[in-house]
Symmetry: C2
Subunit: 150 residues, 2 copies
DNA sequence: ATGTAGTTGGAAACTATTTTCAACTGGAGT
DNA sequence: ACTCCAGTTGAAAATAGTTTCCAACTACAT
């Protein structure tokens, strides 16, 4: 399930859940809070779990996994592929973007620019293939890690 | 380790290995053969192992993993990220390309086109970030899976 | 307050991958 | 051809991320 969401207002978790007969549990509020406070910063389920434990010491990692999957389904979160063993998640702000990943320090920076529209046309013509989504990750060196005149 | 390789001639495995003091074992020849016979088709370590078993029934999966990692280091193979639980590998033909992945049947098709050069300039200007590599995967529907007027 | 569909945490299972280690071998040197 | 050893192998065990199971729990509509 992957729906397109285009909002400018903040996400009303309560409304999104109840509309589907889902409960607004403390655990879900907690994960949502962590994602919101770290908007723009992709995190692993384990990292998110660590944050949750501070305010909710009994929260299970399993619940974090379940919640993140649910949040992706209802458009609250997005999966981010950084080519690491673990999957990453971030708040879905509704703005399409990509990621710059520093191969030295691992810092992740969002990039708004996207050239996929131009590619789409070319692909449809040359390949008879209808592209519905894509994922681009750019790897390199951030300003802090670059200066290495060894 | 990620070196840039630009060859037009076929890959001389023997030469690449011996130059580094590595042995040209039957197992390595076998994996190389599978990659070569399936050039352009990304495969998982397990799939590659299955092929190898046909001609080399005693080959261990561990050896396939080790060999693929080695092949990536010496530029014989490339990792392909298709956002599935398992990693994929394919022969490194030296030609930069991306992948079209059908979300219905899973078929993978190569795309030669790339707009990264245009993005690179923009990124360097706007983000002060030096991009050294990137990975783009495009998901959608191949011709066979598209016609679904339900 | 009650009832119940939905939710939770912990354990166990599962999958992909890496590590360990004793036995084996390619191929350079003789 | 024989020796030798650095490099390699396969099986088992370990590790890491994730999913499944299930009995106990709870949000919230009635
Ligand atoms: Mn982002
Ligand atoms: Mn390819
Ligand atoms: Zn894009
Ligand atoms: Zn490219």
């Amino acid at each position: 399930m992957e729906t397109i969401f285009n909002w400018s207002s903040p996400i009303d978790l309560q409304e999104r859940l109840s509309r589907r007969g889902l409960k607004n549990t403390p655990q879900r509020k907690c994960v949502f809070g962590v994602l919101t406070r770290n908007a723009g910063k992709p995190m692993t389920p384990d990292q998110i779990h660590q944050f949750c434990l501070k305010s909710n010491p009994r929260m299970g990692l399993t619940t974090v996994y379940r919640t993140l999957e649910l949040f992706c389904d209802i458009g609250v979160a997005m999966r981010v592929h950084l080519h690491e063993p673990s999957q990453y998640y971030e708040l879905n702000t509704g703005k399409h973007h990509h990621h710059l990943v520093c191969v030295a320090c691992g810092i992740v920076e969002p990039v708004d620019m996207c050239m996929i529209d131009e590619m789409n046309d070319m692909i449809r013509d040359n390949h008879d293939f209808v592209v519905t989504s894509h994922c681009l990750s750019l790897f390199g060196y951030c300003p802090m890690c670059l200066p290495k005149p060894n």
